[in-house]
Structures are given as structure tokens and as C-alpha cells.
């Protein structure tokens, strides 16, 4: 019999999540009011940061921290993969597309059961890669906006308003995705309500693993049993 809880996230992953959570929040509350600067709530938020100067300073500071987190995340992932410490379980596969369709069929009542998932289901992969792609767009466009004089030495000037358009819309999309999707899957979803603690504690119950990630559970338990079998 296995223990009741299974280790799902490493300490480093948990710290990374908290760091992204904080910088993302800070970037949102200092970024959105700049996009919607004519509204009352935007004016209020900006006044909390001591005016537009203070708001931009915090936004840029948080943006640089976010950039470092992105570099750290990919740098360390790259090293770990090279060292064969982790498997590329987050990379989308053909199965994810089949799972998405299978899940849709299940929701619509056309299939009796959900597809079974491995370490990350297709929704989690979507959110992860959405954050990665969005993050890259935000970092690139953010730096263009921070150093327009430098970048237009070589690049055409139009890249700056294009970066602003991208930064502004991608940022809004990211916030909406987090507010709608992440809040649902990590909090309001009846399966985890009121909160999915695993990203903070690093542990997940065997029951939830059985329910949400049965393929990974099977592999973990097979690995664990190996030495006794051989």
C-alpha cells in the first residue's frame, strides 16, 4: 500500500510559482491602469503607487524580475533535461489533442468517461505554454517599450507602437486568462474547491492522482515496486 500523499512539485517549482504569482499580480495592477487610464479605478490604482511615475517604476521593476524568472526557468529546465533529471512531461503530444476532443465528447455526454491523463493534462499544458508564449511576447515588447531609442537605432520605428499594441492586448489576455481560467481550475472547480493546495505544499493525495493523473500514478507505483520484484 502506498502512502496517502504523493510528492508532485519540487521546492524550487513551488518557489517559482509563488514568485510568478507575485510578479504577475504586481504587473497586472500597475499595467492595466495604464491601458485603461481614463477610468476611475485606474486613477485610484495609480494614485496608490504615488502617481504615474511610481506606477511605471514598479511595473518596470516587476517586469525585470519576471524576465529573470523566465530566464531562470528555461535555463534550469535546460540543464535538468540535459542531465536527464526530468522528463519533458509538459511538452504537448498528439495524445493531448485526442484528449481535448475526448474531454469535449465527455462534456457533451457523447462519451461515458473522461480520457485518462499523465503528469499534466492538456489544459495544464495549454495554460503553461500560454504563459510561456505570452511571457515571451510581454518580455520582448516590454523591453522595446522600455528602450525605444536604443532599439530604433537598428529596427524601424514602427516596431515601437506595434510592441505597445501587442503588450497592451497580450497583457489583457493574460490577466483575463488567469482570472477566468486559473481561478476556475485552481479554486472554483468542484473537484478542488476551495483551493488546490498542491502547488504550495508540493503534495497531492493519491486519490486525486488516481482521479486526475492515473497514468503518472501507475508509472510511479510501477517504479516503486521494481526493486522488490527484481
Amino acid at each position: 500500500m502506498t502512502s496517502e500523499f504523493i510528492q508532485r512539485f519540487t521546492l524550487r517549482q513551488r518557489i517559482e510559482h509563488v514568485a510568478v504569482m507575485l510578479t504577475f499580480t504586481l504587473l497586472s495592477v500597475t499595467g492595466l491602469p495604464q491601458k485603461f487610464f481614463e477610468t476611475g479605478w485606474a486613477r485610484f490604482l495609480i494614485s496608490l503607487f504615488g502617481g504615474v511615475g511610481g506606477t511605471r517604476l514598479v511595473h518596470r521593476g516587476a517586469g525585470i524580475v519576471f524576465t529573470l524568472l523566465v530566464i531562470w526557468h528555461f535555463g534550469s529546465a535546460f540543464v535538468d533535461v540535459l542531465a536527464r533529471k526530468v522528463k519533458l512531461t509538459i511538452v504537448p503530444t498528439l495524445k493531448d489533442f485526442a484528449d481535448a476532443i475526448g474531454t469535449l465528447r465527455y462534456y457533451l455526454g457523447m462519451a461515458p468517461k473522461q480520457p485518462t491523463f499523465d503528469r499534466f493534462d492538456y489544459k495544464q499544458k495549454f495554460e503553461y505554454w500560454g504563459l510561456v508564449m505570452g511571457g515571451i511576447i510581454m518580455v520582448a515588447s516590454g523591453f522595446l517599450l522600455l528602450y525605444p531609442i536604443f532599439f530604433t537605432q537598428l529596427l524601424p520605428g514602427e516596431i515601437i507602437p506595434a510592441a505597445k499594441m501587442a503588450h497592451s492586448n497580450e497583457g489583457l489576455m493574460a490577466v483575463l486568462t488567469i482570472v477566468i481560467w486559473h481561478m476556475y481550475s485552481a479554486h472554483l472547480n468542484p473537484d478542488v474547491f476551495p483551493i488546490d493546495r498542491s502547488i504550495f505544499t508540493g503534495k497531492i493525495s493519491r486519490e486525486r492522482m488516481h482521479h486526475e493523473h492515473p497514468l503518472e500514478l501507475a508509472r510511479i507505483e510501477a517504479d516503486r515496486n521494481k526493486p522488490t520484484e527484481s
Partner: protein, 359 residues
């Protein structure tokens, strides 16, 4: 701010009986109906009547009766309505204590407030009054702009407004006269271009050097340049204010306006287009002509390269021919945002339906 000022003004006015009345009412009720002028012109009708003041200046005391009767006050006011201190005096009156001719004008302009209390109150807020209070009697008072015995209808013709300011501000007037606004006003009596008072106001003229005043620049220019009807007449775009505000400079200026004591560090309309010397955008000397633009940017961004001015979309909305890259990005997100967010909401809805309703 306004009510406090009015209160202060009425306290100052406490000598005048018609305190609670508005300017309009006061003006209607206070005139004596243009009583006896004849008695005064018996002496003051003499073109040679003058007095030498302590300063050595000669003060003309002649009043042309016809000029006065032809003025806005003619037939409505009698001499002692303004020269109240002389009420009841007959056949000569005591000498005035004024040392200089200027002192005389400044003191008698105080009298205007007994009827025009509303406008007088506004002048208390003005930079002219602030200078006057510091003891500089050169600051403009009522009579300097409106005249004394020859008070006319203000602002007719419109060019007279700017010419009035030119009496003191001649350098600025010369610059303005050569500008696109000035030439239209002075040469063609154009009814739409701003005279001095359209930007600076007539009575509550504020100092144009404060940050707060400068941060109002977009509103000031936008009052006309955001007006579709007015701009259509001249084939100009009325999107200039909107496009300015949606860009970095405009957003910053708009937000800074709400901050007390803010000093703008971003380009306002006038930083690129000029102030009194505004020219047509297409004039060869225009600061905002494409060929001159990089120099204009370099005023604030000394490192700016030739590519840099294109970072500003020249008041155009993104479109396939003006800024195709920006337009493409805009179009992409116009579809992407609803697609992604709609998709997520749909998925949540379906999930809830399956696990809650149709278990």
C-alpha cells in the same frame, strides 16, 4: 476654488451695497440711467484741461462727451457712477491725491467691480492681479484692456482682442501674427482661430508657466482640434486629441494632470507644434514636417536616430497603409482575445454542466 474666490471677492466688495447681486443684476439696477454729464463737461470738456502730478507727469483731464455718450456706458451711467467720490460736488472739487498717472488708472479700475463683480472676481485669480499685488502697477487692470470713457463691446472685431494684449505683450503678438492662427485672425478675420483669450482666458488669466497650466494644454488645443465640425471646415483631422492621449506622451500627461504639483516631463501639443508660432503642418519650416521631425524629437531625446520619429504614428489611427505592422497586431488580437477567452469560458461552462447538472 471658485466659491472661495467669490467669497473673498465679496468680502473685498463689502463697501459696495449691491453685494448679493450677480453682475448682470447689478449692472441692470445700478446705472443712474445716464444722468447729468453736462455739469462735468463744463470744465472737463476743455481739451486743454490738465494737471501736473507729483511725479512730474502731465495728466490730461479732458473727456470728450461724444466719445463717452457713444461708449457702452453712454446714456446708462453718469460721471459720478464711477467717480463716486465726487458725488454731490458742484463747481469744482478737491484735488486727487494721486502721485502718478498710473496710480490714477489702477485706483479707478477698482470702481468697475461695483457693477462687474463677477468679472472682477475672476481677475483676482489672474496673473495680472498677482503681479499687481506684489506692488507692480504696470500689471493690466480693467481700463487698460477695456478703456475708460470709451468702453466698447469687448471682442468686436475679434482681432481687437489680440491687439489689446499686444499693447504690453508686443513680442508675443509679433510671433502670433505670423502663425497660422494669427494670420487667419488678422488678415481674414477668421471666426474659428483662437485669439489670445481663447487659450489664456480674459479675466482669470493664469500663469502659463505652472505645471498644472501646461498639463491642460491638450484640453486647450483639443477644444477646437477635437471638434469634428470645426476641423472639417479646414480639412483637418479631429482625431488628434484621441490619438495623442492613447500614445505614451498623452497618457502620461493625462495621468499627471491628476497629481498635485506635477511638472510635465512629456511632450505636450506645444512641445512639437510650437506655442505662439504654430504653423501649418505642411509648411516647409514646420517642426512636425516629416523632414524636420527627428530634430524635434531630439529636443527631448537627444540620442534619437532617423528611425525614431516613426515610433510615433503622427496622430494616425493604425491602418493598412499608415502603419501596417501595428494594424496587423491590432487585427490579430481583435480575433485572438475573444477566441481564447470565449473558448475558456465555454470549456468551463461545459465542465460545470457535466459535473453539476448532468452527472
Amino acid at each position: 476654488m471658485k466659491p472661495i474666490l467669490l467669497l473673498a471677492a465679496s468680502l473685498l466688495l463689502s463697501a459696495a451695497p449691491a453685494l448679493a447681486e450677480t453682475g448682470e443684476e447689478a449692472r441692470a439696477s445700478r446705472g443712474s440711467g445716464g444722468g447729468d454729464v453736462e455739469g462735468c463737461v463744463e470744465c472737463h470738456g476743455d481739451p486743454d484741461l490738465e494737471v501736473t502730478l507729483e511725479s512730474g507727469e502731465t495728466k490730461k483731464l479732458h473727456v470728450d462727451k461724444d466719445v463717452f455718450l457713444g461708449s457702452r456706458h453712454g446714456g446708462k451711467l453718469s460721471c459720478t457712477d464711477c467717480h463716486v467720490d465726487l458725488k454731490g460736488s458742484e463747481g469744482g472739487h478737491p484735488e486727487k491725491p494721486f502721485k502718478t498717472s498710473r496710480e490714477f488708472v489702477v485706483r479707478y479700475s477698482e470702481q468697475c467691480r461695483s457693477c462687474h463683480s463677477d468679472h472682477y472676481a475672476q481677475t483676482l485669480d489672474s496673473v495680472h492681479h498677482a503681479v499687481l499685488e506684489k506692488g507692480n502697477l504696470k500689471a493690466a487692470v480693467c481700463a487698460d484692456c477695456h478703456g475708460a470713457h470709451d468702453v466698447g463691446r469687448p471682442g468686436e472685431p475679434r482681432a481687437s482682442i489680440s491687439k489689446t494684449c499686444a499693447k504690453c505683450h508686443s513680442d508675443i503678438f509679433a510671433t502670433y501674427s505670423a502663425s497660422v492662427h494669427g494670420t487667419a485672425l488678422l488678415d481674414r478675420d477668421n471666426p474659428d482661430v483662437p485669439t489670445c483669450t481663447d487659450c489664456h482666458q480674459s479675466h482669470a488669466i493664469a500663469s502659463p508657466r505652472t505645471g498644472a497650466w501646461r498639463l491642460q494644454t491638450p484640453d486647450r488645443c483639443g477644444a477646437c482640434h477635437g471638434d469634428e465640425q470645426k476641423m472639417k471646415k479646414y480639412g483637418l483631422s479631429n482625431a488628434v486629441l484621441k490619438t495623442y492621449l492613447s500614445d505614451f506622451h498623452g497618457t502620461t500627461a493625462s495621468l499627471q494632470k491628476a497629481e498635485p504639483g506635477a511638472n510635465p516631463v512629456v511632450a505636450l501639443c506645444t512641445d512639437c507644434h510650437g506655442i505662439h508660432d504654430i504653423s501649418k503642418v505642411k509648411d516647409p519650416g514646420s517642426r512636425v514636417l516629416q523632414a524636420n521631425l527627428v530634430k524635434t524629437c531630439q529636443k527631448c531625446h537627444p540620442e534619437a536616430s532617423a528611425n525614431f520619429p516613426a515610433a510615433w504614428m503622427s496622430h494616425y489611427e493604425p491602418s493598412p497603409d499608415k502603419s501596417p505592422l501595428v494594424y496587423a497586431v491590432k487585427l490579430f488580437y481583435m480575433f485572438m482575445v475573444p477566441f481564447v477567452i470565449g473558448g475558456l469560458i465555454l470549456q468551463i461552462g461545459l465542465h460545470l454542466w457535466r459535473v453539476v447538472v448532468k452527472r
